[in-house]
């Protein structure tokens, strides 16, 4: 199949994924991932170079955005209580999964590290959505949970950057550029965005893209990975985006419309359905190896810091999606893991997004007061907008 034929097929797939997402209320990323599996396995498509390139950049952009979405002032207030939960949430599954992969599954040390990293993550987005729906995002337990998730995330990106580095002389310019961007971009942004921002040609988005491409290039030359500086760059820019929401929204539009779909499609297309079917037992073992240490490590701390929602907290800290996918794709692209190992890791990552969340919502729903809804109903009039997809009451 020609490149343009594949592009047309994938563009149609992305469109279908978006409409399904709106209709059934499921994350578009999960549907893109699933449809990627379908397209890849039904049409026996190998991932073309251009898709791999777009997907890699989208992964870096997702990492940057994850950093930019951290509520830094909230983290400063809650970091002490959240640090222990976040670190244990990372290290416990990392150690258990890594050990299992190395000793029981016969993976080599680098493959075991990828396995441990991919399955030690916690999904900030999954946690955030549940907290907003329950109203807990405005309460102490929710704030601690979000901060703990951030700690786990930063441990993951640090592991991804540090564990696989094979230093070359390029580490020096990579480190210098990382520090320069992390220190310089927040300082330069007010001037640059003030002078060149708010235009349809979007110089501010191009500035961020240029910074990320630079980090990716230097990271690659240094035999490292740019996840950590990209995440921290997002983090130091978060304050700027709080003050300039429209800039963040426009970047999201670009990312969601054109980049992240290809990241998740690429992830799905690399999954081998046959390999999953042939290794269902290992899939189950890996899933348990993620969940048990998360529970054993997080639950005792959650009882101390997020009571009476300890089980709810533990279940949400056991979720994973974006960083698990980023880590697995890095391992595959770098030739560290093979397609079967990648398929298993992605399947466990997706299961870990769904299973603990569903259990938390179904059986451990905190039933927090949602005063926001009441307040909302008393807000002043705003211009009418098209109805979001929802279950109608007039049906």
């Amino acid at each position: 199949m020609s490149d343009i034929a594949i592009a047309a097929l994938l563009a149609g797939t992305v469109l279908v994924a978006s409409t399904i997402s709106v209709e059934i209320g499921l994350s578009v990323a999960l549907i893109e991932l699933f449809l990627g599996v379908v397209v890849g396995n039904v049409f026996h498509l190998a991932v073309p170079t251009w898709l791999s390139f777009l997907g890699s950049f989208a992964g870096m952009l997702l990492t940057f955005q994850a950093g930019a979405e951290v509520d830094v002032p909230q983290f400063r207030r809650e970091w002490k209580a959240s640090l222990s939960i976040g670190l244990v949430s990372f290290f416990a599954p990392f150690a258990v999964v890594g050990t299992l992969c190395y000793f029981a599954l016969g993976w080599n040390p680098r493959q075991a590290e990828i396995g441990g990293l991919a399955l030690s993550t916690t999904s900030l987005a999954v946690v955030y959505a549940v907290l907003v729906e329950t109203g807990l995002n405005r309460e102490l337990v929710g704030k601690r949970l979000m901060s703990a998730t951030f700690v786990t995330d930063i441990a993951t990106v640090a592991g991804l950057t540090i564990l696989f580095v094979k230093p070359t002389i390029w580490v020096i310019p990579f480190a210098i550029a990382s520090v320069a961007l992390i220190v310089g971009l927040p300082k330069a942004s007010p001037w640059f965005f003030g002078r060149y921002g708010n235009r349809v040609i979007e110089p501010e988005i191009k500035l961020v893209f240029a910074a990320l491409f630079l980090l990716m290039w230097l990271g690659g030359r240094a035999n490292s990975q740019a996840a950590l500086p990209a995440f921290i760059l997002g983090l130091v820019m978060s304050n700027h985006y709080v003050k300039h929401r429209q800039e963040q929204e426009r970047m999201r539009v670009v990312a969601f419309a054109f980049l992240t779909p290809f990241f998740f499609l690429k992830g799905g297309m690399n999954v081998s359905a046959g390999a999953l079917w042939a290794n269902l037992g290992i899939l189950a073992v890996l899933f348990v190896a993620k969940m048990v240490p998360k529970f054993a490590g997080v639950y005792p701390l959650a009882r101390r810091y997020t009571a009476p929602h300890a089980i709810f907290t533990t279940l949400l800290m056991s979720t994973g999606l974006t960083f698990g996918t980023i880590t697995s794709l890095y391992g595959l692209n770098a030739g560290i893991i093979d397609r079967t190992q990648f398929s298993l890791l992605i399947a466990v990552v997706v299961l870990s997004a769904i299973v603990p969340t569903a259990i938390a919502q179904r059986f451990f729903h905190p039933h927090a007061e949602t005063e926001q809804e009441h307040e909302l109903a008393h807000e002043r009039p705003v211009p009418p907008v098209p109805a979001p997809a929802q279950e109608g009451v007039g049906s």
Binding site: S21, G25, L26, S27, V28, A29, L30, L62, Q65, A66, E69, S123, L124, A125, V126, Y128, A129, V132, E133, Q248, E249, R252, A255, F256, T260, F264, L321, T322, T325, A353, I354, T357, T370, E373, H374, L376, A377, H378, E379, R380, P381, V382, P383, P384, V385, P386, A387, P388, A389, Q390, E391, G392, V393, G394, S395
Partner: protein, 140 residues
């Protein structure tokens, strides 16, 4: 039979708009207090980015803010006392539970009809009529 407390479900559709109009008329006639209840559907499940959740939440907030303002404005024009409430969850279940908890005398809601869904799953109106603790008026 006089109605002292009327609950009307609103979702911005033409059918619910029509039902809201009838509920206003009824409240005016019987001097009842009126509560307009909107049901907020869930956020995207298993999202990959906070941005996806935030954007949908913001969109919903804007939509329901406009819906509430519109209901309040129409009630004010009709001289009817109104409360507007927003609750998350599944429409039929939330409406029935809210009516029971609030001691309402009547539930008013529209019926817009989805041929396939109604036959497969039953409509929200059907399910409310089945589980409601009080009389239900379905406006077509």
């Amino acid at each position: 039979m006089p109605f002292a407390r009327i609950l009307v479900a609103i979702d911005g559709s033409e059918a619910s708009d029509h039902a809201f109009g009838k509920a206003l008329e009824l409240a005016e006639l019987t001097d009842a207090t009126l509560t307009a209840l909107a049901i907020e559907g869930p956020l995207p499940a298993y999202a990959a980015t906070v941005g996806e959740v935030e954007e949908v939440k913001r969109e919903k907030d804007r939509f329901f803010g406009a819906l509430a303002a519109n209901a309040r404005s129409r009630a004010e024009q009709a001289g009817v006392e109104i409360e507007v409430e927003l609750r998350p969850g599944h429409a039929a279940e939330v409406i029935s539970d809210y009516a029971a908890a609030g001691g309402y005398d009547l539930i008013v809601l529209g019926h817009r009809g989805h041929f396939l869904r109604d036959h497969l799953l039953g409509s929200t109106a059907d399910r409310v009529a089945e589980h409601a603790p009080c009389p239900v008026m379905i406006v077509r």
